[in-house]
Every structure is written in structure tokens, then in C-alpha cells.
């Protein structure tokens, strides 16, 4: 049995605030790293804000907004090596951008075009997981399987506060601990699961408390503090690589945007609280920190934002210029060696429909 201390309740923070908490520095991060993190956050933010616009313009379908989650996504991903895997939920749909996945691919996913389905092995980024928490055992299995092969890679899996109520979370977390799988369980506690507050998900005082039950450490970080998330994830990755197994990281934030483009939160959310949260949003906080440190100039900020805007302009252009998908793709890829009936079905469909649909 592992000797595991009770989870920390205090939120770890690096970036200071107006209430008197001073800025800290994270050991080992160069100015180049700090700027790279900023670039990652701006890219994610720009992707998200543009996507909401594209949705309104009818250019993408329903979209899960992640505004104000950029700090935890960029911070955690930055703690990984390229060989490490990321298992995103729909909330982290664009995290592949940080691994070189083209914006056009992710936009195509939200456009429902087959070109939006990438090969995870090309980026070490798993497919976007839609059923809540079911990706947790995948990450545990991948990490365990890599360890069995003597490979150094570990896995980072994102899931929400609501996900911690699911059986798949429990089975995945327990498996990870039992197998000492090198995986970081990153819980995005934005305090809402669509309209259900976290207080209706659990009686546990904090979500990190759950970790002790699995025999793994649990830590809590300010999810709006990119450096705190980075630092906690880096520690968890170090533990994982040292063969000490999984860590549960609870990144606390507050969902300051609708759950998705199809959601109207005015029916259930406290709008004043949302307004307040929006004034403390994570990108602005990091920008303030960098400026206090004297690392970021206006020019650099402008340039980084302009580059991100270009990525999105190019991305949507490329996504929209994808030719219509052939109906043959309905039948492809489900099997390496498809049952013969599928070829008959396709031939019949082509006879009836001709080449295309819609």
C-alpha cells in the first residue's frame, strides 16, 4: 500500500493578485518559455473566440466553448515532452494546435467533415472524447502500456468536474493507480456540468480529496494561473516518469461562458458572478504578470495576436475549401477488413444517390 498524504486544499498559485499576493517565479522557465506559454494561450483564445463567431455565421456546427480554460490547457500541455500523449475531452478540442495539428483539421471536426478526423499517432493527441470520462481508462491503458514496453512516455488526460461522478473516471483512476501508470489526471473543475453545479456532483470537500481513495496524490491549483498549472503538472510528470504512478490535479476555475453554443446559461447561472469572473480571466492575468516581469512588450503582444489571427483566417479558409466528402466515406475506416455486405450497400447507395449528399 502506498503512503499517500491527504490532498492539499490550498490552491497553488504563481501569479500574484491585487489582494496582495505577490508574483512568484517558476524555477527553470526561461523568458523564451514564458513567451511560448503566452503564445499558446493566445492561440487557444483566438481559436475559441473565432469559433464562436464562425458558429454564429453558420460556418461551424455546435461548438463547446472553452473561454477561460486556456491557462489550464496550455499550462498542463507545456509540462509534457513530445512523446507524451494528451487525451482531450470536447472541452479541449483545440489542444492539438499546441502539437502542430492544423486549425483547419479541428475546425473541420466541428464542421462534421471527415477531414476533421486525425490520426492520433501523428500528434500523440487522442481523438476528441465526447462521452464523459470514458477517455480516462484510455489514458491509463496507454500509459500503462508504454511503461510495460519500457518507454518513457506518459499521458495527460483532461476531464471535467462532472466527469468525476462517472464510473469510467473511477475505473480509469483506479486502474492507473493499481498499474502505477504514468498518467496525470487533470480535472478541469469549472464548477459546472452544463447546468449542474459541482455541489450537486459530490459531497467531497474538494475533488482532489478523491485522489487519496485511489492511493495517489491530489493537488489543487488555481486553474486560471497558467504557471501554477504548469508547475503542478510538471511535478506530476516527474513523479510519473520516476515510476511513482499517477497524480490527480484539480484545476479550479469558473465557467464564464455557455457550456456550448447551443446552451443558454441565463436560466441557471449567476450572471453577476460570471461578469466578475470575466474580469479576472486567465489570459489577461498572465499578460499582466509578464508585463510586471518586463518580459512582454506591446509590440510582441500585438505580433503574437496577429499571428494567431492569421492561423485562424488560414484555418477556416482551408476548412471551407475542403471538397465535399464522398459518400463512400460512410463505409470506410470502421473495419480494416470490412464485412462484405458493406460493399453491396455502397454500390446500391451510389446507384440511388449518385455521388454526393446534401
Amino acid at each position: 500500500m502506498a503512503q499517500i498524504a491527504a490532498a492539499e486544499h490550498e490552491l497553488r498559485r504563481v501569479i500574484g493578485d491585487a489582494e496582495g499576493l505577490g508574483d512568484r517565479e517558476v524555477e527553470g522557465l526561461s523568458e523564451g518559455d514564458l513567451l511560448a506559454l503566452y503564445r499558446d494561450m493566445i492561440l487557444l483564445r483566438t481559436y475559441d473566440e473565432r469559433s464562436v463567431v464562425y458558429h454564429r455565421q453558420g460556418r461551424i456546427g455546435t461548438y463547446a466553448i472553452y473561454w477561460n480554460h486556456e491557462a489550464m490547457q496550455a499550462g498542463a500541455a507545456y509540462a509534457l515532452a513530445d512523446d507524451d500523449w494528451i487525451f482531450p475531452s470536447y472541452r479541449e478540442s483545440a489542444i492539438g494546435l499546441l502539437r502542430g495539428l492544423p486549425a483547419a483539421t479541428i475546425l473541420s471536426w466541428w464542421r462534421g467533415h471527415p477531414s476533421g478526423w486525425w490520426n492520433p499517432a501523428d500528434y500523440n493527441v487522442a481523438s476528441i472524447c465526447v462521452p464523459i470520462a470514458t477517455q480516462v481508462p484510455h489514458a491509463a491503458g496507454l500509459a500503462w502500456g508504454k511503461r510495460l514496453r519500457g518507454e518513457d512516455a506518459c499521458a495527460l488526460v483532461f476531464f471535467g468536474d462532472g466527469a468525476t461522478s462517472e464510473g469510467a473516471f473511477h475505473e480509469g483512476a483506479n486502474f492507473a493507480a493499481v498499474m502505477q501508470a504514468p498518467v496525470v489526471l487533470l480535472c478541469n473543475n469549472n464548477q459546472w456540468a452544463i447546468s449542474t453545479p459541482v455541489s450537486a456532483q459530490t459531497r467531497a470537500e474538494t475533488l482532489a480529496d478523491k485522489a487519496a481513495g485511489y492511493g495517489m496524490p491530489g493537488v489543487r491549483v488555481d486553474g486560471l494561473d497558467v504557471l501554477a498549472v504548469y508547475e503542478a503538472t510538471r511535478e506530476a510528470v516527474e513523479r510519473a516518469r520516476a515510476g511513482e504512478g499517477p497524480t490527480f490535479v484539480e484545476a479550479l476555475s469558473y465557467r464564464a461562458a455557455p457550456h456550448a453554443t447551443a446552451d443558454d446559461p441565463t436560466a441557471y447561472i449567476d450572471l453577476e458572478r460570471v461578469e466578475e469572473e470575466r474580469t479576472r480571466e486567465c489570459v489577461g492575468r498572465y499578460e499582466g504578470y509578464l508585463r510586471r516581469l518586463g518580459v512582454l512588450t506591446d509590440e510582441q503582444a500585438e505580433q503574437i495576436k496577429a499571428e494567431a489571427a492569421d492561423v485562424m483566417r488560414e484555418g477556416i479558409k482551408a476548412a471551407e475549401s475542403e471538397p465535399p466528402a464522398d459518400i463512400g466515406l460512410v463505409f470506410e475506416h470502421a473495419y480494416a477488413d470490412p464485412p462484405p455486405q458493406l460493399a453491396e450497400d455502397l454500390a446500391e447507395l451510389r446507384r440511388i444517390l449518385g455521388g454526393s449528399v446534401g
Binding site: 500523449w85 471527415p114 478526423w117 486525425w118 490520426n119 492520433p120 499517432a121 501523428d122 487522442a126 481523438s127 465526447v130 462521452p131 470514458t134 480516462v136 481508462p137 484510455h138 489514458a139 491509463a140 491503458g141 496507454l142 500509459a143 500503462w144 502500456g145 508504454k146 510495460l148 514496453r149 518507454e151 499521458a155 464510473g167 469510467a168 475505473e171 480509469g172 483506479n174 486502474f175 493499481v178 498499474m179 470506410e332 475506416h333 470502421a334 473495419y335 480494416a336 477488413d337 464485412p339 462484405p340 455486405q341
Partner: protein, 324 residues
């Protein structure tokens, strides 16, 4: 060739396949130290080590869910579900991921997972140790399903499943684990998926069956000897289905009775009947009949024999059809 019990043939297959391919690993509840509650995995942990014959936590969704990740790391996991009905917690992973992940990656990644479990009744067991869940699996896109009825096929179909690039579910007739003995080829032995087996040739009527309903159908054919020449087609593989063999037999005899242990409604027999209706109607001399379990929970074992398709019920259906 050696004579082996059906469960021994499965064990033999594991020894051969784990030796042959170092990426194959076995995982499940009690498969390692105990060698499986039916001893199907006996000796593997000693021979190949606890990392290739893994005693997992008691968590079926976790077993199948981590198997998805293991595939991504290059393994070929063979997951044991301890009993038919205890595979249901894993259906979520099966439906939402195992059957879809290859498709989701645009064919870029393979998920060569095998899921195997003892299935079926007639063993005087407590509740939920008797189910025939093949329809859930066969209905799931991306999943192949095979069900052996002989020791040789138990070995050969499992080997085919392990080597197949796609996820395959194997249901093993637990009733016959230790009651059915037969010749089993030594060493590597593969029974290709999608090929039915003519268990017995006949000219008047075809009994279509799979798994434990095959020996039963053969007994029914014996009982009908002198009255009619009965063919028994062992499907072996439900998906892919050997339509050619099915249609050839229907064309030859013109009369088909499908024997299925699972409850009737939307069971696999209904699928077979539909294929015959679509593609063999002019060959048929009468309606396609089904002898199946009933649309009730599998009963208390003192009266389970009344639920199970029996020689009497199969003979009755065959006579009805012959007299049509």
C-alpha cells in the same frame, strides 16, 4: 492431432499465440494467479509473466477501456469477461470506443482487441451466469463476433481473433467447456472469420446454429433420421457472416430452421431470417422458422431446461416445416 476438451483447446491457443507474438497480452479478473475461473488461461502467468497475463481490478469497463489505450501503445490485448452477463458494464466502452476508434482515426490506428467470455445456460448456475448476449455485440458497428462449437474451432477462432486487426468478440459455450472433447490441431491453428462449417450434410432441411446450439441441432438431426435428411450449418462467425454458405444450404434444402439460445426478439436468428427473406425467397419451400429462448429473463435453474431450445422443440419445428 490430440484430443482436447473445448476449454483446453482455448488454453492451448493462448500458449501458442503468446509465444508467437510478444505483443499479445491477456487481462481480466482472476486470469493470472488462478488461471481463470474456468482455467482457460492456466499456466500463462507462470510462463509469460504477470505483465502478459494480468490480474486486473474488478472493473469490466476499466478492463476494456484500458485495453483501448493498450492498443494505442502497440499491444494486442485479449480481455476476459468472467461471465456473459458481467460483460455488460463494458458495453459502454465497447459501443462508444472499441467499435468506433479505428473509424475515428480515419483508419490510422488499429484496435486489435479480443474480448472473450463464457456464455450460455444449461449449467445449473445462479442468476446472470447464463446469458447469450451475442446480439448486443453483433449489433455494434466495428465489432466482429465469432462463436465456436467445437474444440478445434475454439482454438482456431480465438487465434483468428487475436491476429485480426479489428476488435473481435468471442463467445465460448461454457456448457461444453468440459463436456465436449475433440481433435485439435497442434501448434498454430487458425479458423478464418467469416467461414461457416457444414457440420452435417443433408438434402431436406437445414438447421442453422452456432455455439452450443450446434451439438443440439446435430442431436435433433439424429432424432429425425429416417424421416428427413437434415443439414446442420454451424455459422461459427456471426460478423462477418458467411452468406454464401447460408444461401447455398437454403438453396439446396429449401427449408430452414434457425436455432438460437438467446431470447427471440431481434435476436441473431431474426437477422438470418431477414437475409433469407431478401436473398433466398424463391428457393424456400416454406417459412423460415426459429427455435429460440423466450423473451423473459433466463429462468431459475430448476426449470431452465424448459427455456432452452431442446431436441424436442427443434424436431417439432422441423416436422412443421417438412409438412408445410
Amino acid at each position: 492431432m490430440a484430443e482436447k476438451l473445448l476449454v483446453e483447446a482455448i488454453n492451448d491457443c493462448f500458449h501458442v499465440e503468446l509465444e508467437r507474438d510478444e505483443n499479445v497480452m491477456v487481462m481480466g479478473e482472476d486470469v493470472g494467479r488462478a488461471g481463470g475461473v474456468f482455467r482457460a488461461t492456466a499456466g500463462l502467468r507462470d510462463r509469460f509473466g504477470p505483465d502478459r497475463c494480468v490480474d486486473t481490478p474488478l472493473a469490466e469497463a476499466g478492463i476494456l477501456g484500458t485495453a483501448v489505450g493498450l492498443c494505442m501503445a502497440g499491444w494486442r490485448p485479449v480481455c476476459e469477461m468472467q461471465y456473459d452477463a458481467f460483460s455488460y458494464p463494458a458495453l459502454d466502452q465497447l459501443i462508444t470506443h472499441v467499435g468506433r476508434y479505428r473509424w475515428r482515426t480515419g483508419g490510422g490506428m488499429e484496435f486489435p482487441v479480443t474480448i472473450r467470455m463464457p456464455y450460455g445456460g444449461g449449467v445449473r448456475a445462479p442468476e446472470l451466469h447464463d446469458d447469450s448476449p451475442e446480439t448486443y455485440y453483433v449489433h455494434t458497428p466495428g465489432i466482429k463476433v465469432a462463436i465456436p462449437s467445437t474444440p478445434a474451432d475454439a482454438k482456431g477462432l480465438l487465434a483468428a481473433a487475436i491476429r485480426d486487426p479489428d476488435p473481435v468478440v468471442i463467445l465460448e459455450p461454457k456448457l461444453h467447456y468440459r463436456t465436449l472433447r475433440g481433435e485439435v490441431p497442434e501448434g498454430e491453428h487458425v479458423t478464418p472469420l467469416g467461414k461457416a462449417r457444414l457440420a452435417r450434410e443433408g438434402t431436406d432441411l437445414t438447421l442453422v446454429a452456432y455455439g452450443s446450439m450446434v451439438p443440439l441441432s446435430e442431436a435433433a438431426a439424429d432424432a429425425l433420421a429416417g424421416e428427413a435428411s437434415v443439414e446442420v450449418l454451424d455459422l461459427r462467425s456471426l460478423k462477418p457472416l458467411d452468406e454464401e454458405a447460408l444461401l447455398a444450404s437454403a438453396a439446396k434444402t429449401g427449408r430452414v430452421v434457425i436455432v438460437q439460445e438467446a431470447p427471440r426478439v431481434a435476436g441473431f436468428a431474426a437477422e438470418i431470417a431477414a437475409v433469407l427473406a431478401e436473398k433466398a425467397i424463391l428457393d424456400l419451400q416454406g417459412p423460415v422458422l426459429r427455435v429460440t429462448g423466450y423473451d423473459v429473463p433466463y429462468p431459475y435453474w430448476q426449470i431452465e431446461d424448459a427455456y432452452m431450445p431442446s431436441v424436442e422443440r427443434v424436431v417439432d419445428a422441423a416436422r412443421k416445416l417438412l409438412a408445410f
